[in-house]
């Protein structure tokens, strides 16, 4: 799985290694995101940003040991993300 894994996105997306630059990277301004959440309690302020992550069948595969950028406390490691409040009725 190793090398196929490495090249999967490459082959699928047509982006070649080392030439992954796109015309314009999608905007992600973490400072502005955090500025909307001064108390980190309301609305979307428990959101997180993960760096260097692969997605396989709804599973998040983190590449780096310190992969999780956990807002707001910035803790690292496997992120916790409580969705216990997601209820269907």
């Amino acid at each position: 799985m190793t090398r196929r894994w490495l090249r999967a996105a490459l082959l699928a997306s047509g982006v070649t290694a080392g030439a992954a630059a796109c015309a314009a990277k999608p905007l992600l301004d973490l400072e502005k995101l955090r500025s909307l959440c001064p108390d980190a309690k309301s609305d979307f302020c428990s959101s997180k940003v993960l760096h260097r992550v692969c997605l396989v069948q709804e599973e998040f595969v983190l590449w780096d040991a310190s992969a999780a950028d956990q807002h707001p406390d910035g803790s690292t490691g496997l992120p916790t993300f409580d969705v216990a409040d997601l209820k269907y009725w």
């Binding site: 999967a8 999608p26 905007l27 979307f44 997605l55 396989v56 595969v61 496997l78 992120p79």
Partner: protein
């Protein structure tokens, strides 16, 4: 098959004709159940996956997945107050833009709703996808890797942010809108009134509509019609020309956000719902009106006469045993003798926010009338305490 699956299947098998559907179809699939949802599954790459002679996978920098975890995403109203409001705020603040890829987590691998995709599309250049679709296993058993992934958790939402989000969606879809179905559009002095027919006939149905539409047709100053929401772009065109939406409490009322500023919403409450269960009936639409500074005007009509109330099919079949739900879901027969004066009051206020605010007597944005024993009376102003946005803790009662 899990016990939950078995229970769900049995429920559908026995009562398929009574299960709500339409504008939140997989809400129907899980009616009456709180799913035991696990957190998103995180793990570090396995050692085998780390065997590499390079620095690692090619982490895509040109794709930014925003993976949305939203409470009650199968319900249009809940989804609307949380997700487009958050996306609009993030984009307006310059934290994100429309080049991000919007991906929605749906529990139990259930499908996204049509309205999920329709709403998300207004905030991205790319087609929205469910997380299951987006993270599908490729034929070579690999996945895709990204430099950054945003996990957007939407737990509550924000009523005050709803109008701006609705305008963003409206702006996106306006070029695609079909012609308005209102024949009186552009004619001065005509109030266009829409009576919602909810798609699920097992609860919350307005009766007497044949008489209401017949009486309405006699009036040159009214154009009335019934409608079932579900074709989103057509719904939007309809609401753009609508002055008054008459409906039960429900997700379909979200379409009112596409009415023009100063339009009216008349919510019909079956017996007890608007008098005994104010914590619910007074929370949603009245609170939205209050917190959005009178973008729309809310009017409530409690139909208390027993003869005009009938148990819902859900209650009659024993599927609903909660007093609040039963009150919410009863069938109500409308009569012109109290609908006409309500419409007259709404016409008299028009789009004048000052006049409307005077009626609320400085309390909750809630003008509530009751029809009982052949008389229509104005209820006392409603006072709601509690922290805004904290559902189910709001304590609403007559002053």
């Amino acid at each position: 098959m899990s016990p939950l699956d078995s229970e769900r299947k049995a429920h559908l098998h026995d009562h398929a004709d009574l299960v709500p559907h339409a504008n939140f179809s997989h809400g129907s699939t899980v009616l009456g159940h709180s799913l035991s949802l696990s957190a998103p599954q995180f793990r570090y790459a396995a050692s085998g996956e780390l065997e590499t002679d390079t620095s690692g996978p090619d982490f895509e920098e040109c794709v930014l997945p925003i993976i949305i975890y939203a409470a009650w995403s199968m319900n249009l109203a809940e989804f609307f107050k949380g997700v487009p409001t958050a996306l609009n705020r993030l984009q307006s603040a310059g934290a994100l833009d429309s080049s991000a890829s919007l991906v929605q987590f749906v529990p139990e691998k259930l499908p996204m709703e049509g309205f999920n995709r329709w709403i998300l599309q207004a905030f991205s250049q790319h087609a929205p996808a469910s997380l299951a679709e987006f993270s599908r296993l490729r034929e070579d058993h690999t996945g895709d890797c990204y430099q950054d992934v945003v996990l957007l958790k939407v737990a509550g939402g924000a009523f005050p942010a709803i109008p701006a989000a609705a305008r963003a969606i409206l702006d996106y879809y306006t070029p695609q809108l079909p012609p308005s179905p209102w024949s009186s559009l552009g004619r001065a002095g005509v109030t266009r009134v829409l009576f919602e027919t909810r798609p699920n006939r097992a609860m919350r149905q307005l009766g007497g509509m044949e008489d209401i539409l017949g009486e309405c047709a006699k009036r040159a100053d009214l154009e009335c019609r019934t409608h079932t929401f579900g074709n989103h772009t057509a719904d939007m065109a309809l609401m753009q020309g609508c002055d008054v939406l008459v409906s039960y409490h429900g997700a379909g009322q979200t379409n009112a956000q596409f009415m023009k500023k100063g339009s009216a919403m008349l919510e019909v409450h079956a017996r007890d719902f608007g008098t005994k269960f104010l914590w619910w009936s007074a929370f949603w639409q009245p609170m939205i009106v209050m917190q959005t500074n009178f973008e729309l005007f809310f009017w409530g009509l409690n139909v208390e006469d027993e003869s005009l109330n009938t148990n819902s099919a859900l209650e009659a079949e024993g599927l609903e045993k909660d007093a609040t739900l039963n009150a919410r879901d009863r069938y109500v027969t409308l009569q012109w003798q109290f609908v006409e004066p309500m419409l007259a009051k709404i016409q008299a206020v028009g789009r004048n926010a000052t006049t409307y605010a005077e009626l609320t007597a400085g309390h909750m944005a809630h003008v509530l009338y009751s029809w009982k024993d052949g008389a229509l009376s104005l209820d006392p102003p409603i006072f709601c305490s509690g922290e805004c946005g904290k559902e189910l803790t709001v304590d609403c009662r007559p002053c």
